[in-house]
């Protein structure tokens, strides 16, 4: 009873500051505490108990409890326990002590909370906007419940430009992005460069925030949202799809059918296979080794075809509904999948051998973009980035979901924390994924694909779900609600944490290493921004000046408030 044990520990230490607690299972712990004690409780959990920081969530709970809600989520990976520390804040002028000084990884989440919900993190050192555009008026917070999903507030000045910090003395500014050949999606790094050395950088992302969470909380229904969730990301969409569904299932105390769990596992691992193969290719492309880029894409292709055979799509599988899955894996597909895996395994062995012996690639990746165990802890880095620094965490083993508790696999780690270690970890994980899928195919039991759910889901319940995406832990937090949709749904994609570690990784190394260092976290900006870009159809031939282009982008139609 580890959850109970932890709770007793808290009670002993903080006594009356703990208001109440909820222990729905031995793997979840929700503790409500007095807002004034948030700093000491979080420090105790993060430093003394050595828990891993996951994410902070702000929620507007005024229509239900009359208060704002803040949750700081932590993971006790060795205990298989996810813990949420919750505070209720008064409805007027909500404020809470910032924990980002004690837990540096919380910096972005607190800035996001301030932007979207309007909960002020008191004592936060860097209170620049993170998500909202710069011309957004003060005091308007889109994720509050009294704001309609399509509102553009009075006084929104969409021409206001982002104000960058002053570069340090003697440094040249190299704008990296918003569009750059190695960034597949818009994100802006302003690099401060001295000669060829990067001395620091400022990051501005969230350029095309889609407002997916708001859309889900105000317009869609429980079973629509999985399809929206997987559109968060073009590479690891299925992860979000599964994570959301699991969070809802947990909140409503539903257990998906065993066959569905195996199918979810298989699809998640197929996704990891294609993602890792894609990443190894891209990493090679970034360091100018296009041959391996092409080869790994060739090896990857049959996986895409298998996904299409199973789900009808190469990507965006539309796999889950609450309580089950929508696609079956037939005996014919099973046989074919086995063949594809055999071929993949032998071809991948050849690639791994070639890369391991290639001095040239190692020269470009060893000792580059280093993030050691201490930084992993402080910045909350996850996934292959953490494992490459020797930090042995993997949600599939630590917080088992779907059928991962019924298969055997190894968690791959490497000691050095540099880009090369990340390459090694990802290359070896491909073999583990193949192993997992094979076991699932062997063990998968017959049975229904979906649960029959007759009753409405109970409102006001909380659910957490951590799913190991190819790039790290993808964490979803759900509070169930009325009208067949959740009250609050917070997505924390892996890149959200890993990106915060990048400035430290690229500091004091050459600009040539910047791209591969950034690439090595396998960044997924769309996950982080929860955004998408829209192509404007262009008509007549015209040479656009920068001002004209800006004007064009700013006069496009938008929904009237």
């Amino acid at each position: 009873m580890i959850a109970r044990e932890r709770f007793e520990q808290f009670k002993q230490k903080f006594g009356p500051l703990i208001e109440r607690a909820d222990l729905p299972s031995d793997r979840r712990l929700f503790v409500f505490i007095a807002p004034s004690s948030v700093k000491s409780v979080c420090e105790y959990i993060f430093r003394q108990l050595d828990a891993r920081y996951v994410v902070s969530i702000g929620a507007d709970d005024r229509p239900y409890s009359g208060k704002f809600l803040v949750a700081h989520n932590f993971a006790f990976d060795k205990d298989h326990l996810l813990c949420s520390v919750l505070c209720q804040l008064p409805p007027d002028n909500p404020k809470i002590d910032s924990i980002s000084e004690l837990v540096p990884a919380a910096s972005w989440a607190e800035r996001e909370m301030r932007d979207l919900i309007g909960i002020e993190p008191v004592g936060h050192r860097y209170l620049k906007r993170l998500v909202l555009p710069d011309g957004w008026p003060e005091g308007s917070h889109p994720l509050r419940k009294d704001v309609p999903w399509n509102q553009v507030p009075e006084g929104f000045d969409d021409t206001r430009e982002f104000k960058f910090d002053e570069p340090p003395e003697g440094c040249m500014v190299v704008p990296f992005g918003p569009f750059h050949p190695t960034l597949d999606e818009p994100a802006h790094f302003r690099l401060y460069v001295e000669g060829e050395m990067v001395r620091g950088c400022e990051y501005r992302g969230f350029m095309v925030h889609r407002g997916i969470e708001k859309l889900a909380e105000s317009v869609m229904s429980y079973n629509d949202i999985p399809m929206l969730a997987e559109r968060i990301c073009g590479i690891c969409g299925c992860v979000h799809n599964v994570a959301y569904v699991q969070a809802v299932e947990e909140a409503a105390a539903l257990k998906p059918t065993p066959r569905a769990e195996y199918i979810r596992t298989i699809m998640l691992e197929l996704e990891r296979l294609h993602s890792h193969l894609l990443w190894v290719g891209l990493a090679c492309h970034i360091v100018g080794f296009d041959t391996l880029f092409m080869q790994s894409f060739r090896i990857r292709e049959p996986i895409m075809w298998m996904a299409e055979k199973i789900s009808g799509n190469r990507k965006t599988y539309a796999l889950c509904v609450i309580g089950g899955v929508r696609w079956n894996i037939t005996p014919e597909i099973k046989a074919e999948l086995r063949q594809v895996l055999d071929k993949l395994e032998s071809e991948w062995h050849a690639v791994v051998k070639a890369v391991s012996q290639d001095k040239n690639i190692q020269k470009r990746t060893r000792g580059v973009g280093v993030a050691g165990a201490a930084q992993v802890k402080n910045s909350g880095l996850i996934g292959p980035v953490a494992r490459a620094a020797g930090v042995d965490i993997d949600c599939r083993r630590d917080h088992p979901y779907a059928a991962y508790d019924r298969v055997e696999f190894d968690v791959i780690t490497a000691p050095d924390g540099d880009v090369w270690s990340r390459v090694v970890v990802r290359m070896k994980e491909v073999f583990e994924s193949i192993r997992i899928i094979r076991q699932c195919l062997d063990k998968m039991e017959e049975g229904p694909l979906q649960l029959e759910i007759k009753d409405e889901l109970p409102p006001g319940r909380m659910g957490l779900s951590s799913v190991e995406a190819p790039r790290g832990e993808s964490h979803h937090f759900v509070i169930t609600g009325e009208n067949n949709r959740p009250r609050r749904w917070r997505v924390r994609a892996p890149t959200y944490q890993n990106l915060q570690g990048v400035p430290a990784m690229i500091k004091d190394q050459q600009i040539a290493d910047m791209t591969i260092s950034l690439g090595s976290i396998d960044p997924c900006f769309s996950c982080t921004d929860r955004l998408e870009t829209i192509d404007l159809r262009s008509g007549a031939v015209k040479v656009w000046s920068q001002d004209e282009l800006l004007k064009l982008t700013r006069t496009k139609e938008r929904p009237k408030p």
Binding site: P181, T291, D358, R364, I511
Partner: protein
């Protein structure tokens, strides 16, 4: 006298025409072989010709900070490499060898690099500035290598005349040609850098600097630069062959000539295979590599001066 002058000029022009004609073919071959190594179909062999035509037909956008200089750099880059083509014997005659000596050749080759610098400066973008600083660093380390190779030949012969030096002169030592063989190894090691192919395409580095100095180029001017780069591969190939693999070039007309170009294309193949199997170096790694080669080449120079 007059007739030989006319013959020399005609020979030079013939070389220019040949280079212009064959350079895109060499590029096409490079692309096709690269594609095959990467399990791809690859573009048709003649695609570079069409690419150039397409670029030449596009609208000419002056996007840089100093359009005049940008234009000048584009013209100069192609002109410089073609002037080199006039001077290098390509299979059958020694065209225009009376027009200059080895020193001129070295200067002209440096001029090709200078054009890239001009182009980058004229663009005025941060990326192109980074690109030219890299280009400059590698130029400073690279040019001496070629100079030493030529001077080794000149030392053996006691002459700076092009016709003499560009004929396998590096092996013309009194005893066993140690210096020549060392320079052959050095030039083989650095050849990728001279023709700006991976792993030494550092100045352009698409995934880091977005083509560096050429970032603001488009349309016809980009075509000129691309043409110059293609010509560079062929001209440097020819230079390498005349310096280090001269055997058979003096055979009766079609045979010697065919053999010469066959050797150049074998070299292109070699470049392709190396480029396709290597990741790009970082500039400091590359400079360290060049510095190593440079010290080896000085050993060769000393050996040469003692007649080895």
């Amino acid at each position: 006298m007059n007739r030989s002058l006319i013959a020399a000029i005609a020979g030079g022009l013939l070389n220019v025409a040949l280079v212009l004609l064959l350079a895109p073919l060499a590029q096409g071959l490079l692309r096709k072989i690269t594609a095959r190594i990467q399990s791809r179909q690859g573009p048709p062999l003649l695609q570079p010709y069409f690419d150039l035509l397409k670029l030449l037909g596009k609208e000419d956008i002056e996007a840089g900070e100093v359009p005049g200089m940008q234009r000048f750099a584009a013209y100069l880059s192609l002109a410089a490499i073609l002037t080199v083509a006039c001077l290098v014997p390509m299979g059958f005659t020694d065209p225009m060898n009376a027009a200059g000596d080895v020193i001129l050749l070295i200067y002209l080759l440096t001029l090709c690099g200078i054009c890239t610098l001009l182009a980058g400066l004229a663009s005025g973008s941060t990326y192109s500035l980074l690109g030219i600083s890299r280009e400059m660093m590698s130029m400073i380390a690279l040019e001496p290598l070629l100079a030493v190779a030529l001077v080794v030949g000149a030392v053996h012969l006691g002459s700076l005349r092009l016709a003499a030096v560009l004929n396998g002169s590096v092996y013309a030592a009194d005893s066993f040609p140690w210096s020549g063989l060392i320079m052959l190894a050095v030039m083989l090691g650095s050849f990728q850098a001279f023709v700006q192919c991976s792993p030494f395409d550092i100045a352009e580095a698409e995934t880091e600097l977005m083509e560096g100095p050429l970032v603001e180029y488009s349309g016809p001017k980009l075509a000129l630069f691309k043409y110059a780069q293609m010509a560079r591969l062929v001209v440097y190939g020819a230079l390498f062959v005349t310096l280090f693999v001269p055997w058979g070039s003096r055979l009766l007309f079609p045979f010697g000539w065919l053999l010469f170009w066959a050797k150049v294309f074998v070299l292109v193949l070699l470049v392709t295979v190396v480029a396709a199997t290597h990741a790009r170096y970082r500039i400091d790694q590359a400079i360290r590599f060049f510095a190593g080669l440079l010290s080896v080449s000085f050993v060769a120079l000393i050996l040469a001066s003692y007649g080895h």
